[in-house]
Structures are given as structure tokens and as C-alpha cells.
Point group: C2
Chain length 194, copies 2
Amino acid sequence: MPDAPSATRRSERARAAILAAAGELTRELPYAKLSIEAIAARAGVGKQTIYRWWPSKGAVVFDAMLELDSGPDGLALPNTGDIAADLRELLRGSVAALTDPGFESFLRAMYIEIQQDPEIGAAYRERLLLQRAAIADRLAAGVQSGELRPDLDFELATDLLLGPIQSRWSLGLGGLTEAYADAALTAALTYLKA
Amino acid sequence: MPDAPSATRRSERARAAILAAAGELTRELPYAKLSIEAIAARAGVGKQTIYRWWPSKGAVVFDAMLELDSGPDGLALPNTGDIAADLRELLRGSVAALTDPGFESFLRAMYIEIQQDPEIGAAYRERLLLQRAAIADRLAAGVQSGELRPDLDFELATDLLLGPIQSRWSLGLGGLTEAYADAALTAALTYLKA
């Protein structure tokens, strides 16, 4: 039965070509100009091949973004025993990801879709909640070690740590440097520390 | 010369009808489905009438949003002499605006355009910077009265106050209540206070 495996291989090749094309075009085009037609043309497949697997361009771009990602295992925060040092890595890493030209266009595309497509919004939030759970784990360890205040609200603490960076980025206010990340951390720690 | 005034009146009427139609449709439709054609049809004008005044649907929606707004004069923060009380109004007001069904769809539309249209992004930021300048004025008064720390960085302080609320909203994380606004303020004030 040589047919089934070779059909599977063809499917896998088409899927990979579509995700690669979506990834390239997300970096090249303003998101409003990105179309399923353009992805199909670049990938060398028909539109209907894309629609067999994805309901919308946003869904393709979301999966193309996940391909770039280290996956849920990459979300865990280090625990060096120094909460300030570990959170510094988190905030500097956020600034680096949000200002990385190769990644920023995906995140802007996702921000657009979150505002308008409830399904992609839900899928993105599911991923975001994994990241936030990983942060909460590290904060909980900091509470247990006595570095952080015992009554810490992890949701609010995460917002206080990442909200300033995220909101500057999403509003296009600029100024996202390592020095800014460190200053935002110092400010948040005033509240977080025991 | 009866013609010129009546042409002006016709123009004003068409402009008002376009802004009203854009406002209605922004509330009714997902932003991706909103088109210049739909605005023109609802307003009873031709597409070319819209393009005479605005380059894109985002630009029309931006102006429609400004119509709802109290204008720059409404941006000044109260100064009751109690910085915590005045900032509490600011944060509660942000939560109220972001969760107001009549206003939220405009803000989501603007968030979409900021990510993809540099011109609308710049116009929106110009407005945002007026609001941030008004907040900085109130913070400066708080520093002068000795309520806030003398070395306060107004940019960072504004991000710390509004970033948690804005980022929860833009990521669709929910939980935006008055109680959340008050908790975010308490946390931020730990750093802001002298």
C-alpha cells in the first residue's frame, strides 16, 4: 500500500509549505493586505487546500507563529533563588520578543485577530494563560521563600510586571529598552516584595 | 450667492451622515466586515464622497470616535488635593470606558488600526499623548505637594497605573471591575508614594 503513506507525505509537505508561506507573508505585508489567496499562491497550493485545515487567515498565521515558538515547555521561568533576577529575565525577554522584527509582525497580527475573531482570541488566550500560569508558579515560589509578600495576588502581580511593557507596545508608544524593563521591574517589586 | 452656503450645508450634512453611519456600523459589525461600501450605503452617499474626506475606513471610524469624545478639554484630571482619590477616578474611568459597550467597539477598531496603519496609529497616539500629558500634570502636582516621590518618572508611573488595565483589556483577559481598578491603584501607589 504505497499510496496512503505518500498521500500523507504530500499532505505534510503542503501543510509545511502553507505555514512557511504564511510566515513569510506575515513579515512582508501589512496584515490587512495578507490574504488566503496570497498564501496559497506562495505555497503553490489551491485555496481549498488551506480551507481544508484552517477556517481563516488568522488561524493559519496563529499556527505559523506557534512553529516559531519553543512550545509550552519553554514557558517555565528559571528559579535561581533570586526572584528579582528571574523576573528581570522575564521582563527583558518580553521586551526582546516584542521588538524582534521577526516576531513582532506575528504578535501584531494576533493582536488584530484577538480584537475581532473570538475563536483566535480564545486560542491565543489559552496559550497566554499557560505563560501566566508559569509566572504564577515562580511568584508562588517567591512567596514561599519569603522574598515576596505573603498576600500576593498573582494575577495582579503579573499585570503589574508585564502590563506596562505590553501596553506601551500595543499602543506603539516606543521606548521599549532593557533599561525600561529594569525600571518597570524595580517599580513593580516595590509592591511585590515582602 | 445662495449656492455656496447651500453646498456647504449639503457637505456638512453628508459628513455628519457618514460619521453617524460609521459609528452605527462599528457597533454592529466585526471590524473586518466593516467596509467603505457599507458606510456609504448606510449614509446614503457615494463611496467617492467618503474618499473625498477620508483615505480609509479606519480614518472615518477614528473621526466617528472623536465625535463621542469630550475633546481635549475633558482630559484634565481633577485635583482635589488627594492624589489617591484623583487617580482612583482615572483608573475607574478607564475601566468604565473600556467596558462600555457603546465605546469598546471603537477602541477595538482603533487597536486594530494602530497595529497596521501607521497614519491612524500616529493620529491615535497624538490624542493618547494629550491624555498622558494631562496625567503627568496631575502627577507633577502630587510631587510638588509632597504626596508622591520626588524622583518620579511620569512615563513609567503612567504605564504602571494604566498598563495593567490596558493590557488585560487588549488581551481579552477580562476581570475589569472597579475592585480591580482599586487594587491596581493600591499596587501602583506603593511605588508612586513618597
